[in-house]
């Protein structure tokens, strides 16, 4: 794909982004086009209302949380590198390690199993204290099950879910407990999206 190298010129730090996230040039170009599409005011960064303009997200029960995940804590805008880094979590897991040329200093790739799980964990853990408390779990459950169960039933479900996963009895789920409870789940399949070229 010889021509793509010219189109990545518009994208700042394209090579580093490709290296870091593992996206190919074609992917990156397409994502950049999407970024520009979402960025209605042409500011070079996305704000909350840009995300909310995506109509289907409003119907998604956890749409707000997903949008929130794009924004680093304390920041109100999302620039292109952050946009791509979050999306990189959803790339299918690389089966060939050589692609990233791993050496000791290489950080965990964004689409490894641990990184994916960390992303999922942070959806629950809004206050970033490293633990999912009962309240936080309840909030997520409430969002997903709102129409169909009563508040008491929600409480019971949250209670039981915590009991199942909470191994050190601190009434909250830490990241390791979260990982352990999902060890049988095929995360590579379940948390991957095909990125079109």
């Amino acid at each position: 794909m010889g021509s793509s190298s010219s189109s990545t010129e518009r994208i700042p730090d394209a090579q580093e982004l490709m290296q870091e996230t593992g996206f190919s040039a074609a992917h990156l170009v397409r994502l950049y086009e999407r970024f520009e599409f979402l960025d209605k005011d042409d500011r070079g960064e996305l704000r909350l209302d840009d995300f909310e303009a995506v109509s289907e997200l409003a119907m998604n029960p956890i749409g707000d949380r997903i949008i929130g995940a794009f924004f680093s804590p304390g920041r109100e805008t999302v620039d292109f590198p952050s946009f791509v880094r979050i999306l990189a979590h959803f790339r299918p897991t690389d089966t060939n390690r050589t692609r990233n040329g791993r050496n000791g200093a290489q950080p965990e790739p964004a689409n490894s199993r641990t990184s994916k799980l960390k992303f999922a964990f942070q959806l629950y853990d809004q206050d970033r204290d490293g633990k999912v408390s009962r309240e936080e779990l309840l909030q997520v459950l409430r969002m997903m099950l709102e129409m169909q169960v009563t508040e008491e039933q929600l409480q019971s479900i949250a209670e039981r879910a915590i009991q199942e996963a909470d191994l050190d009895r601190d009434d909250a789920i830490s990241f390791d407990e979260f990982k352990k409870s999902l060890e049988k789940v095929d995360i590579e399949h379940k948390m991957s999206v095909r990125f079109l070229e």
């Binding site: 289907e56 997903i66 099950l145 019971s156 996963a165 999902l182 789940v185 948390m191 999206v193 990125f195």
Partner: protein, 722 residues
């Protein structure tokens, strides 16, 4: 077990006795009737022997009984069935039975005719396959499955037919009267992977779900192709070579689409019909299950009548209606449908394999042509491997998670041929095809090779290649919640990154399905309770409550339920047999994809037991918290793990790993008991928790057999949407 040897002996004696007696009676009946008539009617006969009267149904019933007894004998010893799959043993038994019948009658009176097979034995197996199909998994991999089913089968048929013809021309087979068209016809009937054989063999080896659904889905869907190819080539053979021109070939291709889509459509319509019906059958709950079977069978026959693909029809009927009938029908009806389906399917499978064995023992059948047979066998295997590897190479370019090479090997090796091929071979017209017997023999040998040899070697091969196996895991709420979160997450990401992907489509389908289809096909009350997450939670609570009550009753005291201060002591107990009557199937029968369970496997591991100490003094002194802390002794609890994502006809494997940590158990039981107790005492009780223990107690009091009660008071399960 001491009983085992006795069972074996009894079984064999019974079998041989029955068969011989039947033959004797059949032989003697003419004598008897003559004797009766010869003597004239000199008085009122008090008792007469009317064999003619009952001959046909008697023989059928006897044959079914003998097949089931064979299964009993075979399953008595697990050491053997671990190595040799049951299907292979049943075929061997069929050989023996055929030999006995041949010896007694000097003619094979019991062969598998196509009519019996296609109309009476096959439909229930396929209906069960469709009803228990994990829809979500199937449709996620639908593209790949279709590629294998359609293109793979066509490749198998064409390559086999042409290669055999090439070898024939080259003189490897000696003098045979078979033309190119007949070779292609033979290729088409032997090309198809057989669902019955696949289930029978793969049931033993629990490969990962994607691999399984590929092979299984292919075996079901390729019927569309097989029917078309067989009919087309059959017509071509009748027409003769001269009349084949482009028009006919195009007609053939069109007929494929008509047959495949028509069959599916018929099945879909019948599925909708069943769903609609179950919506209104509140007042006749007792025969509700009957509708499912009758309409399923009608779907099969209707498609057959319209010369469409009957297997596709009944598969889609089952797949379409599973969700709705499980919601609409009463719990008991759902359980009835599920168990009856298994009984019929399992029974049919047994009979089919026994028949396959018997049919071989027929002197009039056997024609041996070394070249033909060996070459067929070779080509069947080789072309299967080539086909699968080539198609997978292409598919992996498009798949999100590519199929590994090892999985491809198993997929190729798992391309088993079975009774469908034999049935089709028997349907050949011997006037048009002179060498029909040779073809039938070859088919039989191929079937035996794949079922017996490949069946025996499948498990060692899977172990040796370290194929990824199905994950055996306990159903947890966290996983269920997380799966839901993943689903929503992926849709959101697809929306944000602006692409219409797999998840987007699925989401849209779910939305359409929820809004329109469920409204029509589901009862309003069922629609409200649809959420599966809640159902899982409900099931798990039910399971806990039932185990507590069961335990309490076994110990003779339900003190802990009635008295909040009762001291409860959890201790390991040795398991009696009758205890197991009480606790066999309290498993939550829920999963993303259907998991099947059966009550014929006993958990060999001791389970928890509660010992009720009526030490009120102690209880009064201590606070409730400390009570529960004293609960659990240092004993190991090995729970029964549920097998998810696995299509199983009959087996429910107990997880044998030692992994259940006692500490976890103690904690879990303690906290469960706390929440259970708090519910009972009215401290913010979730409605479900308090409701069901009472219900269980009442039903126990009614005095009917405990095990059946527990079997039939499980809440029905909710299968996955497409």
């Amino acid at each position: 077990m001491r009983g085992c040897g006795f069972v074996h002996l009894l079984g064999w004696v019974l079998l041989i006795g029955f068969v011989l007696s039947v033959n004797c009676e059949a032989g003697h009946e003419s004598n008897h009737s003559e004797h009766e008539h010869g003597s004239g009617l000199s008085g009122i006969p008090i008792v007469t022997f009317k064999w003619h009267h009952v001959e046909t149904p008697y023989l059928v019933a006897l044959f079914v009984l003998v097949s089931f007894l064979a299964k009993l004998v075979i399953e008595a010893n697990h050491h053997v069935t671990n190595i040799i799959p049951e299907s292979a043993l049943l075929i061997c038994f069929g050989f023996i039975l055929g030999g006995i019948i041949w010896g007694a009658d000097k003619a094979q009176t019991f062969t598998l005719t196509p009519t019996v097979f296609f109309f009476y034995l096959l439909p229930q197996v396929i209906l069960d396959a469709g009803y228990s199909m994990p829809n979500k998994l199937f449709f996620s991999n639908m593209g790949a499955i279709l590629v294998y089913a359609v293109i793979g089968t066509c490749w198998n048929a064409a390559s086999l037919g042409l290669s055999l013809w090439g070898c024939h021309m080259g003189g490897a087979m000696g003098d045979l009267d078979i033309g190119l068209l007949q070779y292609l016809l033979f290729g088409s009937l032997i090309a198809a992977v057989d669902p019955v054989a696949v289930i029978a063999v793969f049931e033993q080896v629990h490969v990962n779900e994607v691999l399984f659904i590929m092979v299984f889905g292919e075996s079901l869907l390729n019927d569309g192709v097989t029917v078309v190819l067989f009919n087309v080539f059959d017509a071509f053979v009748s027409l003769g070579g001269a009349k084949i021109n482009a028009v006919e070939i195009i007609k053939g291709i069109i007929s494929f689409f008509v047959v495949a889509f028509g069959g599916s459509l018929v099945g879909f319509v019948f599925g909708l019909l069943i769903s609609l019906l179950t919506r209104c059958t509140k007042n006749i709950q007792i025969i509700e299950p009957g509708f499912v079977f009758v309409l399923g069978y009608l779907a099969y026959l209707t498609a057959e009548m319209l010369s469409l693909s009957a297997i596709l029809s009944i598969v889609f009927c089952g797949m379409c209606c599973q969700k709705y009938i499980n919601s609409n029908m009463d719990e008991n009806s759902v359980n009835t449908v599920r168990y009856a389906m298994k009984v019929f399917a399992n029974g049919s499978e047994t009979i089919i394999f026994v028949f396959l064995g018997i049919s071989a023992i027929d002197k009039t059948l056997w024609v041996w042509n070394t070249g033909f047979i060996l070459l067929t066998l070779l080509f069947v295997i080789v072309y299967r491997f080539i086909g699968v590897f080539f198609l997978t190479w292409i598919l992996n370019k498009f798949r999100l998670v590519p199929l590994e090479v090892i999985d491809q090997v198993i997929m190729s090796y798992g391309g088993l041929r079975g009774a469908v091929a034999y049935g089709l071979a028997m349907m050949l017209d011997e006037n048009k095809i002179k060498e029909k017997n040779l073809m039938v023999c070859t088919t039989l040998i191929v079937v035996y090779f794949t079922v017996i040899i490949q069946g025996i070697t499948m498990k060692p091969l899977v172990t040796w290649l370290k194929v990824r196996r199905a994950a055996v895991s306990e159903l947890t709420l966290i996983e269920k919640v997380q799966n839901k979160v993943f689903d929503h997450m992926l849709v959101a990401i697809e929306d944000i990154s602006g692409q219409i992907g797999h998840n987007y489509m699925r989401d849209k389908w779910n939305y359409f399905e929820e809004k329109w289809m469920s409204r029509v096909l589901m009862k309003p009350s069922a629609r409200k309770n649809r959420d599966r997450l809640f159902k899982v939670f409900h099931q798990l609570n039910l399971k806990d409550a039932m185990s507590y009550v069961a335990e309490g009753e076994h110990q003779g005291s339900l003190e802990f339920v009635r008295n909040k201060n009762a001291f409860i002591d959890f201790k390991k107990k040795n398991i009696d047999d009758d205890y197991y009557e009480v606790m066999p199937d309290i498993m939550a029968d829920m999963s993303d994809d259907h998991s099947e369970m059966s009550s014929d496997r006993r958990d060999p591991v001791p389970s928890v037991s509660l010992e009720m100490h009526e030490q009120n003094m102690k209880a009064v002194r201590e606070s409730e918290d400390i009570n529960t802390h004293h609960l659990l002794q240092q004993h190991l609890y090995r729970g029964r793990k549920q097998h998810r994502h696995r299509y199983s006809r009959s087996h429910f494997d107990v997880n044998k790993d030692e992994g259940e940590v006692q500490e976890v158990f103690q904690r879990t039981m303690r906290s469960r008991l706390e929440s259970f107790k708090s519910a009972k005492m009215g401290v913010a009780p979730p409605k479900t928790l308090s409701k069901h223990p009472k219900k269980e107690q009442q039903q126990k009091v009614r005095g009917s057999q405990s095990s059946s009660n527990y079997l039939f008071t499980k809440h029905h399960k909710q299968p996955e949407t497409c």
